[in-house]
Every structure is written in C-alpha cells, then in structure tokens.
Symmetry: D3
Subunit: 231 residues, 6 copies
C-alpha cells in the first residue's frame, strides 16, 4: 500500500478537506491511500510569490512531519509550487508540485496550453515557473478571471472560466487549458463538458504524478536538488 | 478495471512478451490490466526514422484492433514514438508514446536529462522528437553505446551503459538518464544501483502515463490531433 | 541536363498535372527537366498528419520508382512534407520538402513569416514542423481560410487569402506570407499584386531548392538521415 | 545623498563587514552611502536552494527593517538572489539581486558568459535563475571549484579560479566570467590580471545596479511583482 | 573625476544639446562629467538600419576623437545602437549602446518589456537587436506611434505614447515600457505619471551603464569584440 | 537571361577574380550570367565586424553601381554578410548574403551544422549572425583553423580543415560543415571527399540563392527592410 500526503498550502478547515477528499480519492489507484493535511502557519490563500515565503515555515513543518510519518510521496498542493526546489533538497521521497505536474501533463496531450488564472497577481509567477521548468515555449497564453479564490466554485466563476477558456482557444490557439488553482476539482467535469479541449486539473495531475513516481521507484535527482537533511 | 494495450513495435515472440509482462505488470496498479501484442508486419526492430514508416501498416492494424477491443489506452512501445501524432488522429482513447512519456518524467525529476542511445542511427530521431515536443532545452546530451538492440540485456551492454552514463553525468552535467530503448526494463535496477541519478525507463513511464490519463479522464487534444475516424 | 521528379501527394489527374506543369516549368532553369507524377495509393488530399501515414505506401512506391529512374532529385509535393526524414534515409539523392523549402526561403527574405492555412486541420502539423526544423522563432502566426483544398483557386479563396494575409501583416506583424498548400501556384501573381509583402509558394521554392542542391552537388546529411537502402 | 542597504545573507561578523566595506565603498559614487548588515537568523552560508528558505525569516526581518529606515535601495547580497521576487512584492524601493545584476552586466559586455561556482551544490540554482531571468541562451557553461565558501580568498582558491576560468575560456568559449559568490571582491583584481576576459563581481554589480535604479527613479514593475505591504 | 562622452547620432544643434544636457546631467553622479557632441556627417535622424551605415564615417570620427581625448567611456546615443559591435573593436574603453542598456535595465525590473517605437521603420531593427542580444524572449511586443522623431516632445506625441503604452500593458501584458528613441528624456516624468509600469529611457540608462562600467573597471570583452586599433 | 553581380568584399585582383569565375560560373544555370567585381575602398580582407564598417563606403559604391547597371540580384561575397540589412533597404532587387544563404542551406540538409572558421576574430560575428537570423538553435559549434585568409587554399589549410571538421563531427555531433569564408570554392571537392558530411560553401550557396530568388520573382520584404532610395 502506498501512502501519499497532500499538503494544502493555505488554511483548510475540515469541511474543505472532506470535500476535497471526496473528489480526489478516486484519482489514485486502490493501491494507494491519500492523506490530507494543511499548513498551520502562513496566509489563508496563496495569491502571489510573496505568499509562498510567508508560508515557508508552515510548509517546512508539514513536509518534515510527513517525512517522519514515512509516507511515500508528498504533494505541495498549490498551483504556484511553493518552495518546490528547496523541499526536494531536504527529503529523499518524491515531492511533487501541482503546477509542474499539470504543465507536463498538458505537454503530453497537445503542442501547447493556456493557463486560466483566478487572479492577476498569480500570473507573473506562472510565467516564471514556465521559464524555470523550460516549458515556456508551450505556454501560449494566460487568461485571467479576476475572481477571488474562495469563490472559484460558484456558478459565476464557472461561467467566467468557460468564457476565458473559449477566448484562449479561439484567440490564442490553446489546445489544452490548465487550471491555475488546485481547489477546482469539483467543477472540472462541468468545464470539460462545456469546452472542447482537455482541462488539466493540477490537483489531480499531482496525485497521478506522485503515484507514478512511487510505483516506478523514481524520485527527483540529487544532482538537481542536492540532498541536505534537516536536523 | 482499466485495460491498457501495449503494442511492441517490432517482432516480439512469446518468450519476449512473457519476459516483458513479468517486468511490466508490477508497474501498473491493481486496478489495471495490461495486454501485450506486437505488430505483425514491418521490421524486426526500429533503428531509425525510416523503420517507423516501414512499420506503419503493422502499427495501424494493431491500433485499430485495440480500439475495436475497447481498451482504455494504447501504448506505442518504442523509444521513437512511431506515428504518434497520426495515431492520435484516428482514435479518441489516449495513445501514449514511450519517448514522450520518458522525456516528460525526466523533466519532472530534474532540470535536464541525457539520453543513452543503443545505436547511432537512433540519435537524430531523438533530437527531432525533443524539438517537436519542445523539450530540446532540457536535453543536455545524447551518448551512444553502439550495441545492437538484441544485445542490450547482456552484461557487456550494462557495463557500456554505466560507462556512458558516467560520462553523461560528469562531462555533460546530466541530472537524469533516459533509456533510448523500451526493451531494457529488466536491467534498470542494476543501472540504478550503479549510477547516482534517476534512470528513466520509457517502457515503464509509458505505462504510468497511460494509467494517469485514463484515471484522470484525459486524452490528447483534438485541437492538436484533429479526429478523423478510419472506416 | 538535370532531372527533378515532383511527386504529388494526392490524386492528381492528367488535367491537374498539365495545369501544374504549365505554371511550374518556368520555375526551373533551362538546364533542368521536371517530371510530374502522383501517388497511386492513399487519400485524395493531405489534410492532416494522419493522411501522411495513409499515403505512406503510395509515397514509398513513387520515391523508389524515381530512384530507379535515376533522377537527380525528388520533391515531395505537399505542404506537410510527408515522411521527409524517412525518405531521406532510403535514397541518397536530394529529397526536398515543400514546407521546409518555403520556411527557409521565407527566412532568407525577412525576420519572420506567417503561414496561410487552407484548413484548420493542417495547422498543428505546420507548427510541429516549425519546431522540428528549428524555425519556430520565425513563425509569427498561422491564419486559416477554412476553404477546401479543391476550391483554393476560386475567386472566393483568393479574396479570403488576401483578407487573411492583411490580418497577418497588420495584426501579427508578418513580413512574409507562406502558402500552406502546394496547389496554389496559378494564383500567386494575384496574391502578390494585392499584398505588399513577399508571397512564398512552397511548390515553387521546392523546385528552386532541388535545383540548387543538384547544381551544388549537395544532398541531405547521412549523419542526420542514416542511409538504409531498401531491397 | 542616496542610501543603499546591503544585506549579507549569512552570518557576517564585524571583521567581515569591515573588510567588505573597504572593498565595496569605492564602488558607489560619492553621492551614495552604503550600509551593511547581515541576517540574524538562518544558515551561516547559502550553499543551495534550501538555504534560501532556511534564511527566509532572517531576510524578511532585515528587508522590513531597511524599509522602515527609508533607505533608497536594498541589495540581497548573495549569488543565489534569495527570495528576490517575493521581496520585491513587499517593498516599493528597488530590491536588487547580486546574481541578476551580474548576469545582466555580463550580457552588456559580451555575447556569452560562464559562471565559476565555488561548490557543486550551487550549480543547479544558477541554471534555474538563468532560465527564470531568460538569460540561459547567454550562459555558456558553469565551472566548479569545489572549495568551501570560507576559503575563497585563499591563494589556493585563486589558483583554482584561474585554472577553471582558463578552461571556461578555452574549452567553453566563455567571453566573460561571472563569480558565483559575493564574497570575492578582494581578489577580483588578481583574477582580472591573470585572465584576459572581464571578471564580473556580483557584489560590485549589485551596487552599481542599485545606484543606477535609484538615480534613474526606477524600481521593479508592480506588474511583475504585485505589491502587497506587510503589516 | 570620470568623463563620459555622449555622441548624438544625428544633427544636434546647440539648443538641442543644451536641452539634453539639462535633463541628462542629473543622471550621472557628482563624480562624473558628461560631454556631449554630435556626428558631423550622416543623416539628420536615424530612422532605419540603412541610416546607421550612412552615419558610419561620422560616428567613427567622433569615437576616435573621444578616444584621443581620453574620456572614460563613450555612449552611442541612438536607440538602434549604430555600429556598436564594430566600435567596441576599435577602442578599449567602454562603448555603451542606448538600446542594449535599456533592454538590460528593463530585464532587471520585470519579466518582460515592450518597446514603443516612434516610426514603423525602426521596428525591424529593434527586433533584430533583441535577437542579437539574446533578449528576444523578454520582448513581448513593439507598439508604434507613427510620429516623426522631431515631434516626439509634442503634447500629441505624449498622448499617443500613453495610449500605445496602455495597449502594450493591457493587451500584450507588458510589465515595462522601453522608449524607442533617445530624445525623449524631457517627457519621461509625464509618461511615468500616466502609466503604472516603469518607463525605461535609453538615454538615461546608457549613462548609468557607462558610469557603472567605469566605476567597476569593466569594459567589453575582447573575446567578443577582438581589438584592432585604427591607425 | 538573368544577371547576378557578385561583389567581393576585399581587394580582389584580376587573377583572383579569374580563378573564382572559373569555379563559380558552373554554379549557376545557363540562363544566368555572373559578373564579378570587388570593392575599391576598405580593408584587404574582412576579419572581424569592424572591417565591415571600414568597407562600408566601398560596399555602398558597388551596390549602387550594380543597381544602376540593372542586374537582377546582388551577392555580398563575404562570410560575415557585411551591411546586409542596410543594403536591402536601399535597393529593391535581391541582396543575398553568403553567410545567411549557407546557414539556410545547411538547415535544409540536416538538423544542425558547425562552422569552420579561418580566424578566431571571425567567430563572434558568426554567432551574432546566427542569433540575428534565428538559426542559433541549429549551430552546434564553431571550430577554428587559425590560418590567415590568404593561405586558405594551401595544402596545410586543407589538412587543418579536415582535422577541424572531424572534431566537429565526432565531438560536437556536426551533421553539416559550413565554410566560414567565401574564398574556398576551389578546395571544396577535396574537403567533401575527405569528410562524410555535406560541406556547404557560402560562395556557392549565395549564387544558388540569388538565382532562386530571381527565378521565383522574390525579393526581401520591405516590411523587414524599409525601402529608402539613395539619391
């Protein structure tokens, strides 16, 4: 049995965690159990690069706790991949970023993709990740909803997403749409039904990527992320 | 229960298929069954781009047969991803290439990777795929063994691989090594033990990628691969 | 006297071949004779990547026939360059693709170019070629006519082309327009008269490229396309 | 009079600060005063990406203190530019990274540059910055000394640097060498005397960049680094 | 005391020089004196690449005169960086281009930038420079005013600039705007007040870059610009 | 009958011109006549970027003379493409650069190429052209002979070339070799016989490119090279 720990980067109350568990549990195989937790310190939501740093102590605490629990992989559940490189330097088990996983899955499905961003403040961070991960050539546009993260499951947000998605497809030539937030799994089926390109959910692809790495006995390269155990 | 069809692109006798089944079955979850088949027409091994075309009728036959059997995903089991774009245009279920899957998995594990090629004749095709898939920026080198594909599981090949891998790591700065052939799964543990970077096996990553796509209800984008059903 | 063989990739009746001969004969020098033929098997027109594979037996037959006739160069007359890399692996004389020739000629005339595509289904293939040929940085946009290939010489198509061309020039900053089909030579003068940037005809540039290679005693590199003679 | 605050990212005792002051004071104009401080929490030296995060509270404290002192610009004095994007989101005055400044100065002096790294563990971080800053095309190699940061001013280190620099020039074609550490200003004249390409000192270029921004009334763009004041 | 020579590439009468001196003198430190001169031969304004060559004798004359006067750095004051590489080959002191300086300063302030061009004829030259300097990945668009260079300080030009700037910000996602001409320093404060991204003035950044190089004892690399003294 | 004017950029005496005529005449078709001339002012050979500018008056004189003679195309016969963009702005007939033509022909023959440079001082200019022409991704290395341009036809130079070519092929993976000088046509057959990849002669490809443009009624785009007739 594999155990994957999903760390929500933000304040997640029990109701939220239960809702997410409902949607995400079916995304891993029956050989795998997902545990959910959330950071205890840091901002309520991650809306720009600074928030990643404000959450850093909270993230480090949870990652170290997960390592002590001897889970098989850790997911940093946030579409900005907060601290991803640094975290990989302090544990040997796979640490998976939701953004990186989703960009790579999108790359497997088409020649390009667009990101639909809830907030304008997230957009520069997406683009810097695309450069750092060397997938900028595939990122054909970022379209913005201007909708607060806590309202992303509302009817209005879904409408806005579909409209932004259509613009990305028609005007920017997007062949895949990547969600710019990990909290939208419940509405992915609705989005997929309305738009004729694949919708990539970073929350879901992170789980698939983590399970893939565990199953294939792979973890991030120590040549890219020099291992330095924390006392 | 998910069903994934692996199509060996080359002549695979029953002994080979049994051996591969042994090594690959554990790579998918207990929710998934893998079927293996091989093309009936075409060259014995794929050693350069021309061979892909010589195998094209054989590949088309198997892909159409798999689609009729209503499997959930198809793997083109060859490190040159023969006909990948074309095949995605004629079926709606995921068609997964071993090369593409392995390049993306390598991208998830580090900032760059090298490919270890059995034969010099394969090298131009790897590089053209890296460009077409827009991962050329991550491909730091290709190192060649000059060993026939049928001898790749021999002791001598393993030695040569380890030496080439060390050169890629030390001289080219490779952080991950990708196998340039799908028939090497049996020796991956030995290679991994001898080299201090992750070894990515395209045969294995293709299975993980196919299962991920199926589980996440994703398939290649019709905007990239316009659907045209064959009569 | 040089002999160049143009292979139409699609069903070309005698009337079509005569019309094309009329327009293309003046494009080579008086030292050169062009022969025209067309594939005998495969789809009537090439409208997406899958069609290239459906035409593969037909193309191989004609290329081998041309090689036996000892022509000096072969042109694969289709704006998707079907099987180009593979064909170069089985004959030593130059095999010239219409798309590649036109992208390189456009590169010689300006800092960027746009492609005008007859059909949306062709667009992903253009972009993948641009990546594979490493000219993606020069391809500033693709604009689509949505007009069937058999209607491309109609007045309405010419109008649509001029409108799409103006959009490419004004909105995308295109400095050159490349035709996305090899059957439009008869209307190039009209297009050139109406638009103030060079119009590059892939049918014509392929002839010029083939003659250039022959005259300069150049052929594709065996280091890129390993030679493997077919029995 | 302009005031620039240099924050050493690591433990800097008074002796070190005095030594650095001696070498760096002449690098700004007589209109400018540089203050030096060092973080109070975090690792002694920054040797890999993880260290940046371990220093994050210490860095945030000093940056906020500097902002309260109403200095005109802040320099994050470390060749990994720790937290650069995040810090720019919490203050409006220029926050300058030593790495970014040095890569851009090197770009102004030649067509490419190499970085000489004290430690292998720093190398992946340099390359990720080069990608994120979109200067990867100019970074022709990274050569490593394998010398601890505290020994970088020793005779042996200088010798090793000169040897590594020669290799970068002769084998990699480096036209400029960038120091991979901000503590080497005292030995730059010796290095420059021994090597026939410019030696770019990130400690020095950060000061010049900071003074340039202040003098030109420029600061980082809020469109790239959305402003979010910390309480 | 440092001396920097600014060479206006075009006909600059005394009134123009005085006006520019007024605006530019404050841009260097009190340790530095700027001298202004203008070419005596060549076109009145530089409006396209050809003009650079028509000005070449005039530029060479002034550069050699400046070198004889033993100034510390030379600025080629034109947003096309006329002859920059060639001039660096004939003098050892820093020769600074206004365009290159401004593209690098823009790169320090954000992830991308747009150029606002007075004339359409300048646009291809900007883009070729962006490629040659390897910053094309950061150049997100060029917007054109279609206003003669001599009218660039008029109210109407300022209005047009603000409108073009807004389009670049809103439609192209520009995070910084770079002026496409060196004569606009007097109106930069007005532009900055009206637009919410940094406005980079190439005339000003060239001065800051030149002073930085002088102060840091840096000059262009002889490995990139082989030194060949003129008799 | 087409007339192409080849302008040698350097001092070419009658003997040299006759020798070159002998080798180059067969490179164009029997429909075309090539005239040869040489600049009357400027350096004897072009060995670095500065030399292009020193030759500028001489080049402009010959280009204007050729335009008055109503030739059909002009070749700037030098492997640094001196003033290419500027010249295209002052005449409407095709102006062809030897370097650009050869890089594009090499691109048509393989996935990459190396340049063999006579002198180290030429190397930065090749690389800047590769960037400006957006073919840098295809340029895999530059290897240097360190042999004066006037000695390039000597036995010793041929030996050195073959050795450098082998290094480029074996160590850098070069699939095509491009000559870095236009005066080597007489020895190309020897080089081709000794090396197993295509040898691209810029002198020859420029002729083929010029004839191609003329025959296809193409010339450089005025959108890239704004036309400005010289009085």
């Amino acid at each position: 049995m594999y155990r994957i720990k999903v760390i929500f980067i933000g304040h997640a109350n029990e109701a939220f965690i239960e809702q997410q568990r409902l949607y995400r549990a079916p995304l891993c195989s029956s050989d795998t159990v997902i545990d959910f937790t959330s950071i205890k310190k840091g901002p309520e939501t991650i809306e720009q690069t600074l928030d990643e740093i404000l959450a850093s102590q909270g993230i480090m605490d949870e990652v170290q706790a997960a390592a002590r629990e001897k889970v098989d992989a850790i997911i940093v559940d946030c579409a900005l991949d907060p601290l991803l490189s640094a975290l990989r330097e302090c544990v040997r088990i796979p640490v998976v970023g939701a953004a990186q996983s989703s960009y790579l899955m999108a790359s497997a499905l088409a020649d390009n993709f667009s990101i639909i961003s809830p907030l304008a403040s997230l957009m520069p961070a997406y683009r810097r990740m695309a450069r750092e991960y060397a997938v900028a050539e595939k990122l054909c546009s970022i379209r913005c909803l201007n909708i607060p993260i806590e309202d992303l499951l509302d009817e209005q947000a879904i409408k806005a997403f579909i409209e932004a998605g259509r613009t990305a497809i028609e005007r920017d030539g997007a062949q895949v749409l990547v969600l710019g937030c990990t909290g939208m799994s419940p509405v992915v089926p609705q989005l997929s039904a309305a738009l004729n390109v694949p919708i990539v959910d970073p929350a879901a692809t992170a789980i698939a990527m983590a399970e893939s790495m565990v199953r294939l006995h792979l973890t991030h390269s120590a040549a890219a992320y020099p291992f330095k155990p924390l006392s």
